[in-house]
């Protein structure tokens, strides 16, 4: 028998530290597969960020740099300018990128910085115990708003992909999900494109991945996948929001 699926090479042997069913693991694997397929492990550099994935420098078998909360795109910018031959990706949660790091990501996008951003939208601050993220759905429970998100008090869920696409003319920006096999395959394609647009020097790449946090959603993993489909995607439509430069090619 031949192994047809298995751990990608760009992933280390260290098991993931995440809760059972946590989407971070799936997304990590997709990134590693793309790094393998594009054969860029030797020149890829990942930027970690604060969040449950803060120590994912242990997961990727490539050079890694840790950034402080929200600053990934700035660190990536400095590094890419210093080492233009490398392939830089940031890995950021929705707290990291859509809350404290708003300035950094908006400007990296508008500079069309040649970096790749993997943006994990799980609708919650996972690492700090389930507080409301900018992406938390209306009515959704969190430890900061125990009665559920009320737009009157704390506003509307932020659609980062749409917003960033609006300011980043040379870019590939897409929203994907990992709630079933079909979408996982699509998600990988989007991640691949988000890398390619950098590698081919065509622009800024960002894949927003709708993800689950079973622990803070207080749901079984399988129920989480169903919830992504039933509740999350209707608010956060999947698709490509910017692929100007790709079409131009």
């Amino acid at each position: 028998m031949k192994r047809v699926y298995g751990k990608p090479d760009a992933m280390t042997d260290v098991p993931f530290p995440y809760c059972p069913g946590c989407s971070h693991g799936t997304i990590h694997r997709l990134i590693a597969e793309v790094i393998d397929e594009l054969e860029i492990a030797d020149r890829a550099i990942g930027i970690t960020s604060a969040g449950c994935s803060v120590r994912n420098w242990r997961q990727f078998d490539c050079d890694m740099v840790m950034a402080l909360h929200g600053r990934g795109p700035a660190v990536a910018t400095g590094l890419k300018r210093a080492q233009p031959e490398t392939v830089i990706f940031t890995y950021q949660g929705d707290g990291d990128m859509a809350a404290i790091g708003t300035g950094e990501i908006v400007h990296a996008a508008s500079r069309c910085e040649r970096i790749t951003v993997i943006y994990v939208n799980n609708g919650v601050f996972g690492a700090t115990g389930g507080q409301q993220a900018p992406t938390t759905l209306i009515g959704q429970f969190s430890t900061s708003y125990p009665t559920g998100r009320d737009p009157r008090t704390s506003g509307y869920p932020l659609k980062m992909a749409e917003m960033l696409a609006r300011v980043s003319p040379e870019s590939y920006i897409a929203r994907v999900s990992i709630h079933n096999v079909k979408n996982i395959i699509k998600a990988k394609k989007a991640i691949r494109q988000a890398f390619l647009v950098q590698i081919e020097d065509r622009g800024f790449g960002l894949a927003e991945v709708l993800a689950a946090c079973p622990t803070n959603w207080r749901l079984e993993p399988v129920r989480c996948m169903q919830k992504i489909k039933s509740d999350v995607i209707p608010y956060y439509p999947l698709g490509e929001f910017s692929s100007q430069s790709l079409k131009a090619q």
Binding site: R55, D63, R71, A74, A82, Q83, T86
Partner: protein
């Protein structure tokens, strides 16, 4: 002000430079290839000098969307092995606290310039020295420390900025150049050719993609509690090493001085006039000018004071931020007075002379 062309870099004679330009010249001479920064008065001449010069020397200039972002770009470029710099003044320097603790933790070399203006808050663009405490002690959380240099002339700004890049690489630590608005605006002749044109030295720890080597990780937090404690122990050792090796100062007419005026940066310039005037009038006055602000030149000051100084007069353009360091150095061995004001007061040589006389008499 836009520097219209690069005459400086070519000529081997004395050039008239503003302090801000001198920093830029020193940086480029030292091989600085990356500048990330955000405009703020009174450092804009440096910012704009780099904007002009770096592209001409093959380097990268990028205006960041904020100081917070700028210093994190510096961190990224430093991780990539580049010699890099940012600069600001009070309000922006405050926003760099996070970046400074980041750089210090990750042990990334970088040069950070603060051209101090009057605070607190938004303050005003008048010159002041009220970011002394922020530079030497503050900014970010945790046990970390930056090297801090406080030049007092355009030449010294040039020389010490150049050296700052060397120190940053030697210690793998951020180095702060603490300048001020007077030094920044003032122009003086500067010789540049005595320092060789440097290139970024090889840095085996920098990330460039692992290639065929084992991968590298640049961290701002280790994996275990024990590692972090050990990490702090290492950092502490390094800071001790800095304290042992990097104390710099200038002492003038201190040998027989009964009263020594302690001042740094632009204030030391003004103090010089006052001290000479008092000397001319027969007073036994000297001047001590710390050049490294961290480490503070404790040893020298202590020894000098031991020779019989009765009084120290600390003069600073702030509410007395350096007094603690002086007190810590001499620890009761001499009386310590402070003269200075926060908020942008510019001393006249006469007022300090008057203060010297008052103290000399009492």
């Amino acid at each position: 002000m836009v520097v219209e062309q690069s005459t400086y870099l070519a000529v081997s004679e004395k050039n008239l430079m503003s302090g801000n330009e001198a920093i830029g010249e020193g940086a480029i001479r030292a091989g600085c290839q990356f500048f990330f920064g955000y405009p703020i008065t009174p450092q804009n001449e440096l910012f704009e000098f780099m904007a002009q010069m770096l592209p001409q020397t093959g380097g990268t200039f990028l205006q960041s969307e904020s100081e917070l972002s700028g210093i994190n770009m510096v961190y990224g470029a430093a991780a990539g092995g580049g010699r890099c710099m940012t600069s600001s003044s009070g309000p922006g320097f405050t926003l760099m606290g996070e970046g400074l603790t980041t750089l210090a933790t990750a042990q990334m070399p970088a040069v950070v310039v603060c051209v101090t203006r009057a605070g607190p808050g938004l303050g005003r663009i008048a010159s002041a020295q009220s970011d002394y405490r922020l530079a030497t002690r503050g900014g970010g959380h945790g046990d970390y420390q930056c090297l801090v240099l406080g030049p007092a002339s355009a030449q010294e700004l040039y020389d010490l900025t150049y050296e700052a890049f060397e120190l940053a690489d030697r210690y793998r630590n951020p180095v702060i150049i603490l300048s001020d608005a007077i030094l920044g605006q003032m122009m003086e002749p500067v010789v540049t050719d005595h320092l060789p044109r440097m290139k970024t030295p090889p840095k085996e720890w920098a990330v460039r993609g692992k290639g065929t080597n084992p991968r590298k990780v640049i961290k701002v937090a280790p994996h275990t509690d024990e590692e972090l404690i050990d990490w702090n122990r290492q950092l502490k050792k390094k800071y001790q090493l800095m304290q042992d090796n990097e104390q710099r100062y200038e002492a003038l007419l201190t040998r027989d001085a009964e009263l020594i005026v302690v001042a740094f940066g632009s204030t030391a310039r003004i103090v010089l006039d006052s001290v000479l005037r008092a000397r001319n009038e027969g007073m036994a006055v000297g001047m001590f000018r710390p050049i490294s602000l961290f480490p503070y030149p404790q040893k020298a000051l202590e020894e000098i004071v031991r020779q019989g100084t009765r009084k120290l007069l600390v003069v600073e353009a702030n509410n007395g931020q350096m007094v603690q360091d002086v007190r810590l150095a001499v620890c009761g061995a001499a009386e310590i007075a402070h003269y200075g004001f926060g908020g942008g007061h510019i001393f006249s040589p006469y007022e300090i002379y008057r203060e010297i006389r008052r103290l000399g008499k009492s």
